[in-house]
């Protein structure tokens, strides 16, 4: 079985977010980048299929050369090889088109991707890839088993979960629960050394027009200090709710 794991290169969720150029560009200064946490669930599950069922695992990223350390980490975790599509990831649809173009040529049986990235939270790439390739698709997966030519997928929906049986080729939108957090792998020294020897192929993108663009960024307003109003001073409470909070 050939598995493709799509890897996003995202700021660590503990990083402080700042913007430059009059809030039109993300400021990467001092930001630690990591594998998107949802993609890490997908990669860890792919490793399980590699070790138990002999699958081959390719890690793929759409991005410029600054994303290579993240791909190397995926290799250190155990991916067999890695591919970087050499273009900025600016828009979900164009990223999906890049992934679909590569995956179509390579005929993967299973494509795993996080259900969304933790930076732009778009949640669109796995579904778009599936539709572009006309593959089966299950989103928000919290369980995946393979039995012969069938996949048993557990999906979460609002208020419950359901188990679906589907066939390959298949695209999965992974989320927390696909593997337990304590199963996530930290690359060991041997893995890091081996990752240096593994192939990381850089391919040029297909021509795609982005469907969206970021015009500017904005940070939420700082929360104001809590005001304590005496229980007997209802007039003041009403005045503040009306004039300051503007909720009545």
């Amino acid at each position: 079985m050939k598995i493709l794991v799509c890897i996003s290169h995202v700021p660590d969720t503990t990083s402080k977010i700042n913007f430059t150029d009059n809030n039109t560009k993300f400021d990467a200064t001092g930001v630690q980048f990591v594998i998107n946490p949802y993609d890490e669930f997908a990669l860890t599950r792919a490793m399980w299929f590699k070790e138990k069922q002999g699958a081959t695992v390719t890690a793929l990223n759409v991005g410029n050369n600054t994303t290579e350390p993240t791909l190397r980490k995926a290799l250190a975790i155990g991916a067999d090889d890695a591919v970087r599509i050499n273009t900025e990831a600016t828009d979900g649809l164009s990223v999906a088109r890049q992934i679909a173009a590569y995956a179509k040529a390579e005929a993967f049986d299973l494509i795993l991707a996080g259900k969304e990235s933790s930076d732009y939270n778009g949640g669109m790439v796995p579904g778009m890839v599936a539709n572009l390739l006309d593959y089966n698709f299950v989103n928000a997966c919290i369980g995946l088993e393979i039995e012969g030519s069938a996949a048993l997928v557990t999906r979460e929906f609002d208020g419950g979960k359901e188990i679906l049986q589907t066939s390959f080729p298949l695209v999965i939108g992974a989320q927390k629960g696909l593997v337990e957090e304590n199963e996530l792998r930290i690359p060991n020294m041997r893995g890091i050394m081996m990752a240096r020897q593994k192939p990381l192929k850089v391919i040029e993108p297909v021509a795609v027009d982005p469907a969206t663009q970021v015009n500017s960024y904005e940070k939420p307003l700082q929360k104001s200090a809590c005001k304590i109003i005496d229980a007997n001073n209802l007039d003041e409470l009403i005045r503040l709710l009306h004039n300051e909070a503007k909720v009545i």
């Binding site: 913007f19 778009g122 579904g127 698709f137 609002d158 027009d209 969206t212 663009q213 960024y217 909720v247």
Partner: protein, 180 residues
């Protein structure tokens, strides 16, 4: 050009998010001076949807759609969007909608934004504010016209359900009682 909103229901009962979403769609339709169409799948009683001002309610009834099947529903909604010349499509941010939206976006060759928290700040260019970086920032995203031979330009907007109420409240205070 019309605005299309999907009103989701659970076992025949419409969720509050569906009504909020219709109000949100109505405000965009008013901004664009166009019609609002509400679509729902296999609802038994659609009368309560009319209270929120849509110009038309379409109830799609089909045996294949009786059980949630993302591909089939996305295809049905995409066909409806084409038929009604919907340029702006609004879904909530339930897990099912997150499943449907990217499928529809590809079907319609539409730009897509998720997590919108306000009405568009501009319709031409179409710019909408959305959450990003796990709610540590907002992004003002422009949805550019997607090109395809026989398709009109589509803009695709998926709303973030949890953010609708604060958004309502803010607009209420700024616009002197106008609800969207």
């Amino acid at each position: 050009m019309t605005v299309l909103v999907l009103a989701d229901h659970s076992e025949g009962k419409f969720k509050n998010a569906a009504f909020e979403l219709i109000s949100y769609g109505k405000s965009i339709a008013d901004m664009a001076n166009t019609k609002l169409i509400v679509a729902t799948i296999g609802a038994k009683d659609i009368s309560e949807l009319s209270r929120f001002g849509p110009d038309k309610v379409v109830n799609i009834v089909n045996e294949r759609l009786a059980v949630f099947n993302a591909k089939a529903i996305a295809d049905a909604l995409s066909q409806l969007a084409e038929k009604e010349s919907a340029d702006i499509i609004v879904l909530d941010s339930s897990n099912n909608s997150k499943y449907l939206a990217p499928l529809m976006a590809v079907n319609l060759n539409a730009g897509m934004v998720s997590g919108a928290i306000d009405v568009p700040s501009s319709l031409n260019p179409f710019v909408v504010k959305r959450v990003a970086f796990s709610s540590k920032a907002f992004v003002h995203t422009e949805i550019k016209s997607a090109k395809k031979n026989n398709l009109s330009c589509k803009k695709f907007l998926r709303n973030k359900r949890k953010s609708i109420k604060p958004c309502l409240r803010r607009l209420f205070s700024f616009t002197g009682g106008r609800r969207f």
